[in-house]
């Protein structure tokens, strides 16, 4: 069969032809405006995706170097050691990571992975590419704001990268940048971090405004709220989290900037001593204020990381079980409740700050409450598998991998939500294992699933199935080998953020002392290091597959290779500027698979009812 090649539809130019953002026909746009300064949501989505994947790889390399340092404190980093010494000079003298360099790699690994890799990939890349297609819109509501959002993101990323090379190096106070530590470390890296964050927050705010306005205003005729695919709902709630939770961090960043630059004391208490000397400040500030404002963003941010992933997984599961998603309405209401509650749970990150019992009880209660809708979402996705004739292709494998991995991450979070169990576990490797299970084999698996799933729409070709499976099984095995031992280390009391991996507290270093870290727990460091290296190797098939398949992958036979119901698959492949040849009209809900009596096992949302077609009515 031949590939269906769609002609670009004749676009109706805006009558008034006054909008500077309006585009002429494709041929008129040069390379720069088409690929670099593009206002097309699909190009911007791909730009975001590509940039975010690069940052993710970079963040991964930072982590590999840290794992080496943890497993072999004081030994020169193999392979890249000389390069480090050459680029960074003194902090990496002889190819050995100094504790300061370890701290800045740690801070930047967190910052890059959260704000420059996963959020831009999950929210901005997939959201930009897929949401307008799914709701039947020609583009985002504000295409130029969309471009500005991407540019602010790139600029923020560059500021973060540049900070590695300034004297003193990048920020060292952790991704949370707690004051007064963040203000006391003598490096301008923190200043770069703050400026980079302000740019990234600006980017997220512009994106969030655009997403919400697009979903509210540009839904195709007939696309009522309860006909929106769950992915769109997830992105909608995510956008609200970014919109309302990020500004307090921006305010906090401005105040920390003032503390750093003009020596105010917003977060610096009276009597603060730095380096054994009384700091020359006016004092009177509150370090806890920073923590409150940081975690007011920080906790909704967790859901910013996870909700788009759930949306992707939901689409892929519905498509590959060939039956309607179980409990669509429960999913929608759950995601709304999660979004709402996520604003009032933040202080469960702060039980160790000497919090009183009343306020701790409040935050424990809301934290337990928010686990209910999260579990409902996961349960709906699990039940959707029941009785389906599942197609085990690569996107589905990753989506299925997401479910138990996120389950482990979520359930191990419960002890951290309750003050009595959190207090001994706080700041140990248990916490690291917990949130990495949520984000790495959780969210990142969903993101891989999304890449494999939407790749045919973006390029007209499929990614290689065999190497996709190799990628999946390799990632699944090594992810678990990396993170599972950390639970054991954390339960033994190994603290995070120690550049020697806790060697100073090991039984080998201080024999005969109670509660030291046992040898087998310390030995896990080597285990994790090589599992992490193997995890990196397991990504090579993916990287090659991604680039190779763009030009050499198997061509898709039609616009809808997965037989999907949502509107994104009814658009031409790849969708031209303006997306749909004709504005789609929506007639039905998003997951009408295997409708009895229908000729195919999927009924696209824009397929009109024919006389005699039985109206779909789910059994439950």
């Amino acid at each position: 069969m031949e590939t269906i090649v769609h002609e670009f539809p004749p676009y109706r130019e805006a009558e008034a032809a006054l909008e500077p953002g309006a585009h002429g026909p494709h041929e008129d746009i040069g390379f720069w405006r088409k690929y670099i300064f593009s206002t097309d949501h699909k190009i911007i989505g791909i730009q975001y995706g590509f940039t975010a994947l690069c940052f993710m790889l970079f963040g991964f390399f930072l982590m590999l170097m840290m794992r080496w340092q943890i497993a072999h404190p004081g030994a020169p980093v193999p392979v890249v050691g000389p390069l480090l010494a050459k680029i960074l000079g003194q902090p990496a003298a002889g190819g050995v990571m100094s504790p300061e360099l370890y701290n800045s790699f740690g801070a930047m690994h967190g910052t890059i992975m959260v704000f420059l890799a996963v959020v831009p990939l999950a929210f901005a890349a997939f959201g930009n590419y897929v949401v307008p297609l799914m709701i039947g819109a020609p583009d985002m509501a504000f295409p130029r704001v969309n471009m500005a959002s991407y540019q602010a993101y790139v600029l923020g990323g560059l500021v973060m990268l540049v900070s590695f090379f300034i004297p003193g190096g990048a920020a060292q106070a952790g991704w949370t940048s707690y004051s007064p530590l963040a203000t006391s470390i003598p490096t301008d890296g923190q200043l770069f971090w703050i400026i980079g964050m302000i740019l990234l927050i600006t980017s997220s705010l512009l994106g969030a405004v655009n997403f919400i306005a697009t979903i509210i205003q540009l839904r195709a005729p007939g696309m009522t709220w309860m006909r929106l695919p769950f992915f769109v709902w997830a992105q909608f709630v995510t956008a609200f989290l970014l919109l309302l939770a990020f500004p307090p961090l921006e305010a906090a960043a401005i105040m920390q900037l003032m503390d750093n630059v003009v020596h105010t004391s917003f977060f610096l208490p009276t009597g603060l001593a730095v380096g054994g000397k009384l700091a020359h400040i006016s004092g009177g500030g509150s370090p806890l204020l920073w923590q409150h404002l940081f975690w007011f963003l920080g906790h909704p941010e967790v859901y910013v990381l996870i909700l788009p992933a759930m949306g992707i997984v939901c689409e892929i599961i519905a498509n590959n079980t060939r039956k309607p998603i179980w409990g669509y309405k429960s999913l929608v209401y759950s995601v709304l409740v999660v979004g709402f509650l996520s604003f009032i749970v933040w202080a469960h990150h702060m039980y160790l700050t000497g919090m009183g019992t009343k306020i701790a009880t409040f935050f424990q209660a809301t934290t337990m409450m928010i686990s209910i809708p999260s579990v409902i979402i996961l349960t709906c996705l699990f039940i959707s598998l029941w009785g389906g004739s599942i197609r085990f292709n690569t996107p589905m494998l990753f989506a299925l991998g997401f479910l138990p991995m996120f389950g482990i991450g979520g359930l191990t979070g419960l002890p951290l939500g309750l003050a009595p169990t959190d207090i001994p576990l706080h700041d140990t490797y248990y916490v690291i294992a917990h949130f990495h299970y949520v984000v790495a084999p959780g969210t990142i698996f969903a993101l891989f699933a999304g890449i494999y799933y939407w790749f045919p729409k973006m390029t007209g070709r499929r990614m290689n199935e065999f190497w996709g499976r190799v990628h999946f099984w390799g990632s699944l095995v090594f992810m678990n080998l990396v993170f599972m031992p950390m639970f054991a280390q954390g339960l033994e009391g190994m603290l995070r953020r120690m550049s020697d991996g806790g060697a100073n507290y090991s039984a080998a270093r201080v024999p005969g002392v109670l509660d030291t870290l046992p040898n087998d727990i310390m030995a896990l460091h080597t285990w994790i290091l090589w599992a992490a290296v193997a995890l990196g190797v397991a990504q090579i098939p993916f990287i090659i597959n991604l680039f190779w398949s763009m030009n050499h992958g198997e061509k898709v036979k039609n616009d809808n290779p997965w037989g999907a119901t949502t509107l994104d698959w009814q658009a031409p492949t790849p969708p031209p500027h303006g997306n749909f040849a004709e504005p789609p009209q929506v007639y039905r809900g998003p997951y009408e698979y295997s409708v009895p009596g229908h000729a195919t096992d999927f009924t696209p949302q824009n397929e009109p009812d024919r006389p005699g077609t039985p109206v779909f009515s789910p059994a439950h």
Binding site: L18, N210, A213, P248, A251, I281, L289, H577
Partner: protein, 264 residues
């Protein structure tokens, strides 16, 4: 390609895109200033009794600025009304007034900043037999070449006397010549001086940046952006409305900043 509902409202929501966008943006601005206000409340509540400064601001100038902004909010609305009834001349007049008022606001703000930054608190060494241990006033001469500074102010013996100025009427200010050898340390009333001034400068500077940003947008619509009026007056009117909503929000922020920083 044309984005739907860019100019005319979508029937089921009743709003055009940019208006949804600006309200969303304003919601995020509420949270931005909300965080600063919560910082204010926390720091204020955490300050020991009697240490929070009072009467450090020029209330007359603050009141004047409040009225200037209120007036500019009104001219902004009238500029939109003028567009709505398709009278471009009136639009130019009203938004011209808005721009002038915005400039006035920024000038007054700049004057207030200058007043704080030239105001010094000078701690004197123990042995100096001046009228008190602290000299407080505005800098008249601070030439690094010379071994003295001149301020116009007064001597006090206790820092506590400088905290609450509301009850101190008729402060006698004279020119004081202070030898540099007697100065232990010297600090202007900038944001580094104490938490009150830190909050004052941060909040009002962020607000002033919003004024500046709003003025640039309004200036654009008033100047080069007016080309759109000839092509699509409805679209232009929408832009005036959206920028006006932002301007009113900035006014709203000041309505709270004024009492919180000047009166309480």
């Amino acid at each position: 390609m044309e984005i739907p509902y860019a100019v005319h409202p979508r029937p089921d929501t009743g709003i055009y895109n940019a208006k949804v966008g600006i309200w969303l943006f304003l919601a995020s601005e509420v949270m931005l200033f909300g965080a600063l206000f919560s910082a204010y409340v926390l720091i204020r509540v955490g300050t020991p009794p009697g240490e929070w400064p009072h009467g450090w601001q020029n209330v007359t100038l603050g009141t004047l600025n409040t009225l200037v902004l209120a007036l500019s909010a009104i001219t902004t609305l009238m500029a939109w009304v003028a567009c709505k009834v398709r009278q471009f001349g009136k639009f130019k007049f009203f938004h011209g007034c808005t721009l002038l008022l915005a400039l006035t606001f920024l000038c007054i703000k700049g004057f207030e900043y200058d007043d704080h930054l030239t105001h010094y608190e000078i701690h004197l060494t123990a042995g100096s037999n001046a009228g008190g241990s602290i000299a407080d006033g505005h800098m008249v001469e601070n030439d690094p070449q010379k071994d003295y500074v001149i301020i116009k102010g007064r001597y006090v013996n206790d820092e506590q006397e400088l905290i609450d100025l509301r009850s101190q009427k008729d402060i006698q200010e004279t020119e004081l010549k202070i030898p540099r050898s007697q100065i232990k340390d010297m600090q202007s009333y900038g944001p580094w001086h104490n938490d009150y001034l830190a909050l004052y400068f941060t909040m009002t500077a962020l607000h002033a940046l919003h004024i500046l940003g709003g003025s640039i947008v309004i200036g654009y619509l008033w100047g080069p952006g007016r080309k759109l009026w000839k092509v699509d007056p409805e679209h232009f009117t929408n832009r005036v409305e959206v920028s006006g909503l932002f301007w009113h929000f900035v006014d709203l922020v000041w309505i709270f900043l004024f009492p919180v920083l000047y009166l309480m």
